[in-house]
């Protein structure tokens, strides 16, 4: 009687090893996924904007240029000079895009957009330098997006004021 009860107890013990394995795999996955998804996004304090469009579904294959408040250009965590930035863009702007999206339009201009993310205290001339490089012959990127943070409160107030009118 005693022996049978003990065997039953042993049989009901749950082996936690596979579950812990899976959980650790998930943790590693999320840690890597965070790093992969955020490596384009430098930690910058961007200015608030009321008119900003949501950036939930960015165009596939968009390039990111970060400009910190010292005026350093950073792509994928790699600081670079303005000339290195130009070389980097030239190497990447005309690469094939996912889902068969067009690389050039009929006039030979790059269809790939570039998001410029700058700190609120960055001198605007550094952003203008990126714009200048984008307009150069052989690059000709015309779709530029300026990164901002959304001022939800002000947007809600503006919408309410517009509705009241």
């Amino acid at each position: 009687m005693g022996q049978a009860s003990s065997a039953l107890m042993e049989g009901s013990t749950l082996d936690m090893t596979p579950m812990i394995d899976v959980v650790f795999q998930l943790i590693i996955f999320f840690m890597i996924a965070i790093d992969m998804s955020q490596q384009d996004l430098e930690d910058l304090q961007m200015p608030k904007s009321v008119q900003a469009a949501d950036d939930k579904d960015p165009e596939e294959g968009r390039l990111y240029v970060n400009v910190n408040r010292k005026g350093d250009y950073i792509i994928k965590r790699q600081p670079m000079t303005i000339d290195e930035l130009e070389a980097n863009l030239r190497a990447r702007v005309f690469l094939p895009r996912p889902k068969g999206l067009p690389v050039k339009d009929k006039d030979g201009l790059a269809e790939r957009p570039i998001l410029i993310r700058a700190d609120r205290a960055t001198e605007f001339k550094h952003v203008q330098k990126v714009m200048y490089k984008c307009a150069l012959e052989g690059l000709k990127v015309w779709k530029l997006e300026l990164g901002v943070s959304q001022d939800e409160q002000a947007k809600a107030a503006a919408d309410a004021a517009a509705q009241a009118k």
């Binding site: 936690m16 579950m19 812990i20 959980v23 650790f24 998930l26 943790i27 999320f30 840690m31 996924a33 965070i34 998804s37 955020q38 996004l41 961007m46 200015p47 904007s49 009321v50 008119q51 900003a52 469009a53 949501d54 950036d55 939930k56 400009v67 408040r69 010292k70 006039d107 201009l109 998001l115 700058a118 700190d119 609120r120 205290a121 960055t122 001198e123 605007f124 001339k125 952003v127 203008q128 330098k129 714009m131 200048y132 984008c134 307009a135 000709k140 990127v141 015309w142 779709k143 530029l144 997006e145 300026l146 990164g147 901002v148 943070s149 959304q150 002000a154 503006a158």
Partner: protein
């Protein structure tokens, strides 16, 4: 023999706290992955016709020039503490003690005043109803040396709010 069984029982580890912690970590990473993506963007376009003017001659264009000037010199500017250079009015706008804006060459009192004046221009020449149609008012933004990204975004924000969609930047001082 009995003592050996007792020793084995004592070495069993309670996994519950570790599982709790790992699940907490998973939840943290899952939430964190979404937080940073909530950003906004201002859509802008560089002119496609660099060096060539393709605008039809018969189309009369109204030009609005906005010049942004920062009165604090670069040496005086502490980039880690830019808020101390501006005072926020009770109405939520910025007072123009450090940033000066010239609209058609004339100084603007504050951002609210800029908004009112742009709305007035827009009232006289309405925005095209079709978003694909070219706006007949061109706005030239000229940020001068020392102007910060935030100063420009504020003006662009007001311009977009007044339905000015054709914005161009002028005055690139690459060596400044």
């Amino acid at each position: 023999m009995g003592a050996k069984e007792e020793a084995q029982a004592e070495t069993k580890m309670d996994m519950t706290p570790m599982i709790d912690v790992t699940f907490q970590l998973i939840i943290f990473f899952m939430c964190n992955i979404k937080f940073k993506m909530l950003e906004g963007k201002l859509q802008t376009y560089l002119p496609k016709d660099v060096g060539v003017n393709t605008t039809p001659q018969d189309k009369v264009l109204e030009k609005v020039d906005v010049r942004i000037i920062r009165k604090v010199t670069k040496k005086e500017l502490d980039l880690d503490n830019i808020d101390r250079y501006r005072e926020w009015s009770s109405a939520g706008g910025t007072t123009m003690d450090q940033v000066q804006i010239l609209l058609q060459g004339a100084p603007v009192k504050d951002l609210k005043s800029l908004q009112a004046q742009l709305n007035e221009i827009r009232r006289k020449i309405p925005a095209p109803t079709d978003p694909k149609e070219e706006d007949s008012i061109k706005m030239n933004l000229e940020p001068m040396a020392g102007v910060l990204y935030e100063d420009v975004v504020q003006v662009v924000d007001i311009a977009l709010g007044a339905k000015f969609t054709s914005l161009t930047f002028r005055g690139i001082e690459l060596d400044a």
